[in-house]
């Protein structure tokens, strides 16, 4: 319990620090939020009005104080660009990003872990000569290129999947849940999720394989063999369970990098998500939206890390023991 409370306090401090850095970072960047509006017929007075409306006429300290006090009350301000509350804009697309990220991460890690264990067990066989270079190639391939190849083959060539968006044009659904659990959504999710998964699977695969190779040298494995345990029991119950720990850490950290990597996949497949929102917000100098969106991502990451830590406890009795003593 005490452990959880300490962790929660840490989380708050991290959030505050990230929020502060974001606040100043965006304001120190070159460019002005007005630039997004100059194509319209704005006069000098209108520009002044915009500055007042955005609250940019206040001192930096004052702006910061407002930002922090409002954020504490859950108010992240209003987007300059969309003229809507930041939380509304972000929440509208966040589910899509979380679903895309989690589905591809789970696919990548389940596949990567199994394939990694399999390759370790079959060390030196012909399958290794194909498997390892293949994993390295897909890991190194640029996501953009990978996405375009996927589109060319599975959408335009074979016509199995749609080429973009999260739903068929103009499709009607009774509720948000009905939309997300529809077959239509799944068909649209397939290509971006597979692209992201192909990009992500290399890390768990290689990590799992090298861990397994190490663990397989350990004495308790030899002991198991001497006891006459079956190959599958040794592989799954003894070797894999130990080799899995670093992979679990990589998974938690992977959520962070996947959200970043999503920008590319979301753009290639026109997937509505937070990555596109961020690019748009940063290039339009939409400070409230950019800092709000980053803050919400940070929040999600911290929660995920927290869950990963708890999982670690469940997976490894040594950690559990060290924390309680």
């Amino acid at each position: 319990m005490k452990y959880i409370l300490t962790r929660l306090a840490h989380m708050l401090i991290v959030l505050w620090a990230v929020g502060t850095i974001l606040f100043f970072m965006f304001r120190l960047m070159p460019g002005t939020p007005l630039a997004a509006f100059i194509d319209n017929t704005t006069t000098a007075e209108q520009q002044q009005a915009l500055i007042r409306q955005f609250g940019l006429d206040k001192s930096l300290g004052e702006q910061y104080w407002l930002f922090i006090t409002n954020a504490l009350q859950g108010d992240l301000g209003q987007s300059f660009f969309f003229k809507r509350p930041v939380t509304d804009v972000v929440m509208e697309v966040l589910p899509n990003t979380i679903i895309l990220t989690m589905v591809s991460l789970v696919v990548a890690y389940v596949f990567g872990t199994l394939a990694g264990a399999y390759l370790a067990w079959h060390r030196g066989r012909w399958i290794e000569g194909i498997g390892i270079p293949l994993a390295l190639t897909t890991r190194a391939a640029p996501e953009f290129w990978l996405g375009m190849v996927m589109l060319a083959v599975f959408a335009f060539g074979l016509g199995w999947f749609p080429a973009g968006g999260a739903n068929t044009s103009g499709a009607n659904f009774d509720s948000e849940w009905a939309r997300i659990f529809s077959l239509d959504y799944l068909r649209h999710l397939a290509l971006p999720a597979i692209t992201l998964a192909v990009y992500l699977q290399g890390l768990p695969l290689l990590l799992m394989r090298s861990n397994m190779l190490e663990v397989l040298q350990e004495e308790f494995i030899t002991m198991g063999r001497m006891k006459g345990l079956s190959n599958s029991t040794i592989l799954l119950n003894h070797a894999a369970r130990n080799a899995l720990l670093p992979v679990a850490t990589a998974f938690a950290l992977g959520i962070g990098s996947a959200v970043g990597g999503n920008v590319v996949v979301e753009t290639v497949f026109s997937w509505p998500g937070i990555g596109r929102l961020l690019v748009n917000a940063v290039s339009a100098s939409d400070y409230p939206l950019a800092q709000g969106a980053f803050l919400i991502i940070t929040f999600v990451l911290i929660i995920m890390n927290f869950i990963a830590d708890i999982t670690y406890h469940l997976l490894d009795p040594r950690v559990r023991f060290a924390a309680s003593s």
Binding site: L34, K83, A163, N167, S169, S270
Partner: protein, 560 residues
Amino acid sequence: MRNSLKRRGVLRCTAAIGLALGLGGVAATAQAEGDPVRAIELHSRTQAANPQQYQAAELIAQIWGDLGLDVSVNALPNTQLSDVVWYNRDTWDVTMWQMVGRPERSDPDEFVYNLFHSSTAPTGYNFVGWTNDEYDKIAEEQRLVIDPDKRLELITKAQELVNENQPYAFLVYPTKVFAFDKTVFDETTVTEQPGLGIKNFHTFTDITPLGEQTDLIMNSSNELNALNPFYISGASDSWMTELIWDRMMRIGSDGLPKPWAAETVEWNDDGTVLTMTLRDGMTWHDGEPVTVEDVVFSFTAPQQDMVAPMYQPFVSGITSIETPDDKTVVMTLDKPNAAFETSTLSKLNLVPKHVWGPIIDGLAEGESAESVLEETRIGSGPFKFDRWATQQEVVLDANPDHWAAPKIDRLILRVVLNVEAALGMLRSGEMNFMSDYTGDPQLLIEAADADGDLAVVESVDIGFQYVAFNARRAPFDDPAFRKALSTAINRELIRKAAWNGFAQTANSHVSPALSYWHATSTDDMETGMDLAKQMLSDAGYTIVDGKLHYPDGVTDQYAD
């Protein structure tokens, strides 16, 4: 400074010796020269953001290099570029720039007045800071002349003045390419509007489906920003707003304003009093009738401060609006305004007073109608708003009760950021109308040839691409210098090499797409390197050891 003086002295000495010894004809005619012109940065958008413009910048830097200038291309992301060029107006020398076509720019006033009138030089559209008293007078006068023929003379004169002074080196009017599936839609029901192509209001109300597919599915390559009748936001937003909200007039397929929600539009003789009769039987999408009070409200609400700041300039000249009966609206203007029909009557959205009246009354201090989110957007236009899924699509339903009811059932605008994906979607049928194509036009034409079902339509833009000289800074304040630089640029080369031939060469701020207003007298600009060098030397500039120098006695105030 002392160094350069010394060096100049040495150079002059050399020239004198050359002269004395009778060596070479060049030295014999050499004039005394001023400072060398400093190294010049040519700003541009990045290659990724605008490949054609960047390519043109590279070519121009090379061409000017042959004139003895040291030019480097500095590519910046759009917002940074705007920050330099728009907000720090005395810091830059030359930049690539563009003006985009919009329906309300079908009247030449916006470009003729805003781009070069001295009043817009400090913070407005005249970011190059070129001012000219004669031009100011013409720009002001053309607004007051209602007779089109007389106004044409002024608009022509304005274009000729710009041609003489070359505040911009105009490059091209790009050609836009559109495509649609001709097996889904009847080709003969697609309207082309000058400057806007087939993506226009009339196409969307008239286009007729041939079979089962009754949804028109088109694309935007940008994220949508807002759908609000009091807010002029992103470009693709306006394609939707003009369908949901009606206007008193609409720009017709000939590019000129035509009565729309107003059945008749009549002016008094001096062009200050306007009488309009409202069309019969119009209703809002919620079933309420459209009344003259709604019309009055639509024009008076934006007149107040901080309600609709972007629309305010277009209604500020209206001094009174009266409704003698329940069909008639009489507007009085403070002075004649030739562009009023295009820039006000065809631009302001008609909004229901019963919806927006209470909203505007309830605005908090410092808040404007721009940030109001209307859940069900109520207009009286041929399409009703159904929904908008952020970053995905906007769905509009046909309004069967409208007098110009659309033939399609729904109009769907999909946000597709990836241009190759958009091309694939058009071929697979996920999309059937390419309304926003940002890729290589040749690829679209090839795809259409391979497909067989697609019709491609090309159209010259109202907007244009150009090089902007900062007239605040020498030597760009010298018309002769600007003209020589502009003359050096081979437009045909730029058109073919940078725009792949999908453009028309330009030399005026009024596009030939506006065929009535465009001055053909500016079309044949003579270009060439020899001519440019001759012009420079006539103006006193000299090339010494391959470097361009100011005329004698002129120092470079902006050299580092």
